[in-house]
Symmetry: C2
Subunit: 112 residues, 2 copies
DNA sequence: TTATATACCTAATATTCTTATGTATTATTT
DNA sequence: AAATAATACATAAGAATATTAGGTATATAA
């Protein structure tokens, strides 16, 4: 786990990336997927994620529909056309930012 | 310039890196140096930097002394022993975080 | 002489997170 | 069978960290 302030500002980008290829996900699933993809290093908190998902829906970058699984409700989020556009912009911007920070801080990254 | 939320959480790390090798700097100089090192991409705002420098001094990771240049005062910040330790930790943590984000977002970075 | 650059600072506000709390269903362990 | 953990949603108080705007003052360039 990282000291949490590093996550700040990256949450929307993470969500957009996960949904960018068109597959829908529900909130809890996003937390688990991120946890899995990062080897438990990033654990999104629900208190951060849910309000962000609501905001992104209100902004028109995500759309939702609910599905019933037994007696439980899942609220699935999918990306909209404008969300797809935003995903490209955000990812490009973040990549550029990372490059800048790597230079500024003289970081040695893993090669992959 | 990046949408500013990306900078969040990195300011202390940037300051620690710049001062980690022992050379002292004053606030305004830090803003100019970061601007120069990032090709104008990161412009620290004084409203963020000065309170952060004060906090870091209060926390004992930075120490200060003032110098007069003509009739102007410069407040120089230097790193303390505990600051040097923190710098190592923060930079290591940030490098690890970047590696994780690169994997998670599948980013293609410049090779350097 | 007017604007820009240098150099410090604070305060109000905004954003984004953590932590805590709440509800409810389903699966697992004791 | 009962207790706990996992699943799944949500909100609210508070903390942290930034922006924006404002203030003071000296030095330099147009």
């Amino acid at each position: 786990m990282y000291s949490s302030e590093l996550i700040k500002g990256t949450l929307r980008t993470i969500v957009l990336k996960l949904l960018a290829d068109g597959n829908k996900m529900y909130g809890y699933e996003i937390t688990q997927r991120v946890k899995e993809l990062t080897g438990n290093k990033i654990q999104l908190t629900e208190g951060a994620l849910y309000p962000t998902l609501h905001a992104m829906e209100a902004e028109g970058v995500l759309s939702t529909h609910t599905e019933n699984v037994g007696n439980r409700i899942r609220k699935y989020y999918g990306i909209t056309r404008s969300g797809k556009k935003l995903a490209g912009e955000k990812l490009s911007e973040y990549r550029d930012f990372i490059n800048t920070m790597v230079t500024l801080l003289d970081l040695q990254l893993k090669i992959g």
